[in-house]
């Protein structure tokens, strides 16, 4: 259908006899590896596992929501399920997804380095992540936790009688893994760029990782503190948040959102980086407005720290605080809009081919646009008063975090899969599942905007009858979405063994990672690369003709 040629594998394009995947055998060679690429795969396996736990929770509560009464599940179970879903998806899937898997794999390769600056710390990050995950899983196995992923006080500190402290410990510990990875990336990007790789020649994926790492480094400690204080108040009855002990419950919300708003950008910025790589490759174009996209990533990272109060317009925070936070939140829309317009403009006069990663990228642009625009709704004070804590919010942030971040992750995984494994996945199935995911996603979450404006509160195990039609639509969409996620799972595993060999650069992509064999050797590059051109120099041939 499309004029892509099956790559013909010349002998020099065969995977290197010794590459990072077969450089060592046995479980020890994996668990003690310091190779950033192997660590990326450790993360890939772990977050996929967590994704299925978080997804299973969602399947169960979407089933429950088919009917207005809470019949399939007891209210208590329902509450535990949405808590697990939120906690796992945010802290154990989305936050690590692109940085820890694709970032780990690509940051050194894209800047022409042999590894990250601190390979041992990189491995340590993964262990910390796993230990944090174990705590959270333990809490779930013991009987679960029902505070919601937001841990609002004084419910979490005084009234909940589920496993709050163990869960909190899990989130607390995992935070250090993000901090260390962030630190590692920042140092690597500053210190280990190959000769000629100036800041303005960096792929935008690197800029996005850099901005994300800054947020991780500055924000995560605040999350750690607030979670720690919850544990202290709960264990020792020290009055911090509970007014009955002399504390202030709203203080917790300030601390929590100071991190958790920027955390949205921890999830979405890396995805934006992926989109820039994919769009340029499959339209053979230089990115439109390189510096605007790069700077807008930093702008989002910085602005993101000044808008947390928009989660608290009806929390009893003062009216003036509400006004200021609403005003500042509006500005976040600008760098986001700039990115969307620049990506769209990149397509203009391109040479576009609808490979799977591009389908995900275009899907991202569409869904992120809707997510971003509804962000303006919820930043608008009078509208937020009505839609706060309703399904409108749920829909809005799923458009950003699933329609955006997850689509970006899947697009990136498809884009770099041939590099990571040396093999191609079946293109037809991949396009089909991208389509299924897009349709399923919209069917799941679009009705929730309407539900929310009609007034259905979030976190309701039972709801009034008149909301049923929309809930059934949403649950139907979720089952389509679920199938969409299972298909890639199957063909990715299949392709690792049976997929056709990819060769070093199946997409004819620019970027240093594509100059290495697939899969790369442990050293990444045979010779230290020298960079002489800008990123995305897809039009170079033409310029040569002209010059």
């Amino acid at each position: 259908m499309s004029p892509v040629v099956e790559p013909i594998i010349a002998p020099e394009n065969l995977p290197p006899r010794v590459n990072y995947l077969n450089a060592g055998y046995g479980i020890r060679s994996w668990l003690l590896t310091k190779d950033h690429k192997r660590i990326a795969l450790l993360y890939l396996a772990s977050i996929t596992f967590f994704f299925f736990i978080g997804g299973a929770a969602a399947v169960l509560f979407r089933l429950e929501l088919l009917t207005p009464q809470s019949d399939l599940l007891q209210a208590e179970t329902y509450n535990k399920l949405f808590t697990i879903h939120g906690l796992i998806m945010v802290f154990f899937f989305l936050i690590p997804s692109i940085p820890a898997v694709l970032g780990n794999f690509l940051v050194p390769m894209m800047i022409g380095a042999r590894d990250l600056a601190f390979p041992r710390i990189n491995l340590l990050s993964w262990y910390i992540f796993i230990i944090g995950g174990m705590f959270t899983l333990t809490a779930i196995i013991l009987g679960g936790v029902d505070t919601g992923w937001t841990f609002y006080t004084p419910y979490s500190t005084t009234y909940a009688n589920t496993y709050v402290i163990i869960t909190a410990a899990g989130v607390f510990i995992t935070g250090f893994s993000s901090i260390l990875t962030g630190l590692n990336f920042i140092v690597t990007i500053h210190k280990m760029r190959a000769p000629g790789m100036t800041w303005m020649r960096l792929p935008l994926f690197i800029w996005a990782q850099y901005a994300t790492s800054l947020i991780n480094l500055l924000g995560t400690p605040v999350l750690a503190i607030s979670i720690f204080l919850i544990a202290i108040e709960r264990a020792f009855r020290l009055g911090i948040f509970d007014p009955a002990l002399g504390g202030d419950p709203v203080l917790f919300q300030h601390l929590f959102w100071f991190y958790s708003h920027p955390a949205v950008y921890i999830m979405i910025l890396p995805a934006m980086g992926v989109i820039s790589e994919v769009i340029t490759c499959f339209s053979r174009k230089r990115i439109f407005g390189y510096s605007f996209i790069a700077v807008s990533s930093l702008a989002i990272a910085v602005l993101g720290f000044f808008v947390w109060g928009h989660h608290m317009f009806v929390s009893s925070q003062s009216i003036y605080a509400g006004l200021i936070f609403s005003f500042l939140s509006m500005f976040v829309a600008i760098p986001s809009a700039v990115k969307v317009f620049n990506w769209t403009a990149t397509l203009y006069k391109g040479s576009i081919i609808y490979q799977t990663p591009l389908l995900y990228a275009l899907g991202f642009i569409g869904l992120f646009t809707i997510g971003g625009l509804t962000g303006i709704f919820v930043a608008t004070l009078a509208i937020d008063v009505h839609v706060h804590d309703t399904y409108f919010i749920i829909a809005h942030f799923h458009y950003i975090m699933v329609g955006g971040a997850l689509m970006g992750y899947l697009g990136g995984l498809h884009f770099w899969w041939p590099k990571i494994t040396g093999r191609l996945y079946p293109e037809g199935w991949a396009r089909l599942s991208a389509l299924i995911i897009f349709v399923g996603f919209n069917l799941t979450f679009f009705p929730q905007f309407i539900l929310g404006y009609l007034g259905m509160p979030r976190r309701y195990a039972a709801y009034p009858d008149e909301f049923q039609v929309l809930n059934v639509m949403s649950s139907a969409g979720a089952s389509i979405l679920g199938i969409g996620y299972l298909i890639p799972m199957i063909y990715f595993i299949w392709s690792m063994r049976y997929g056709p060999l990819a060769g070093p650069n199946p997409w004819n992509a620019k970027g240093l990672e594509w100059t290495t064999p697939s899969p790369p050797t442990t050293e990444n590059f045979e010779h230290k690369p020298h960079i002489t051109e800008e990123a995305y120099a897809y039009e170079v041939k033409e310029e040569k003709v002209v010059g």
């Binding site: 419910y155 007014p243 605007f292 620049n342 804590d389």
Partner: protein, 317 residues
């Protein structure tokens, strides 16, 4: 069936229509941008699809004018949205003077209401149509949120302090009342209904209520029983200031600051008297933490509010 597929809740309060107008403005703006972006992406993807394997597209320069245009236009639009939303929000935040006050207490998992003339109800709220009503909200345990979609009104109910919400119903009927802030196991059971009736029907409903004692009367009884009256007399004395005319007045504190005596201040004075000491007095007032229920406090406050006029022997401000 059509009734079930509606996209707007009832517009049953004075602000509901205004919120919806703003909402429609945002929908219009979003539809425009979604159409623009989707349209361009689909158009480009179709028009510029790759036609030969070695095709190399012409370079396109970044255009500064475009970058400025798509920075400035969205900026103007979001600022309009901000200003419009802010202006409505300020209206929503300030109950009109003279609004009728109803006291509400949220607890796991019910809503309790006390009407000024004493009627009490649970998970139901009867209100007259066409009269601004201010709900004073208190929580006995965790955070809840008072949400009436038909009125476009929502306010968190936070333990340890008072918050308030107001509305003026424009339509008779029954409307959902939800708790919007997750508050534990039966969060989705913490629902009720708001019954909006003609003022005469409301009066009739009130007089049918058995517990017809006005809030302030209950408050006065508590004031005597708990021994407040031994220290707080009708005129300022060494044992304590008179509470006449206190409500709404600016109180000079020992710390040099001053505060307006609103519900939260009175609440704090009773539960945590040493937090703010009135100028010219010793911190001898004992705390009543744990001795008064949220409803008792509501009654006490209603009583102190009812003590109008300046205290004896104090010159009017």
């Amino acid at each position: 069936m059509l009734e079930r597929l509606r996209i707007f809740p009832d517009q049953a309060s004075t602000i509901a229509g205004e919120v919806d107008t703003l909402y429609l403005f945002l929908i219009g703006m979003s539809t425009f941008f979604v159409a623009l972006i989707f349209g361009l992406v689909i158009y480009f993807a179709a028009k510029y699809r790759r036609r030969s394997v070695n095709e190399v597209p012409p370079p396109v320069r970044t255009d500064l004018r475009l970058e400025i245009a798509w920075t400035v236009i969205p900026l103007v639009l979001v600022l309009i949205s901000f200003a419009w939303g802010a202006q409505l929000f300020v209206t929503m935040g300030q109950a009109p003077a003279g609004a009728m006050e109803i006291h509400a207490v949220g607890r796991q998992w019910m809503w309790k209401f006390q009407h000024p003339s004493g009627g009490r109800e649970i998970n139901q709220l009867h209100v007259p149509v066409g009269i601004p009503i201010k709900i004073l909200l208190a929580s006995e345990d965790v955070i809840h949120s008072f949400f009436v979609p038909a009125f476009r009104v929502k306010m968190d109910v936070v333990p340890g302090k008072y918050t308030s919400a107001w509305f003026e119903a424009t339509m008779e009927g029954e409307f959902h009342l939800f708790c919007a802030e997750y508050c534990g196991t039966q969060h989705s059971g913490m629902i009720g209904r708001v019954v909006v009736m003609k003022p005469v029907d409301y009066q009739r409903w009130l007089s049918d209520q058995a517990s017809g004692e006005p809030l302030a009367v209950g408050g006065e009884r508590l004031f005597q029983q708990r021994g407040c009256a031994t220290c707080h007399r009708t005129s300022d004395g060494p044992t304590g200031p008179a509470l006449h005319g206190l409500f709404g007045r600016r109180v000079q504190l020992q710390s040099g600051d001053s505060v307006v005596a609103d519900e939260s201040y009175i609440r704090e004075s009773v539960l945590n008297p040493n937090a703010k000491i009135t100028e010219g007095y010793q911190p001898i007032m004992p705390t009543f933490q744990g001795q008064l229920s949220e409803e008792g406090l509501h009654q006490m406050i209603a009583y102190i509010k009812s003590l109008s006029g300046p205290a004896e022997g104090r010159k009017a401000p």
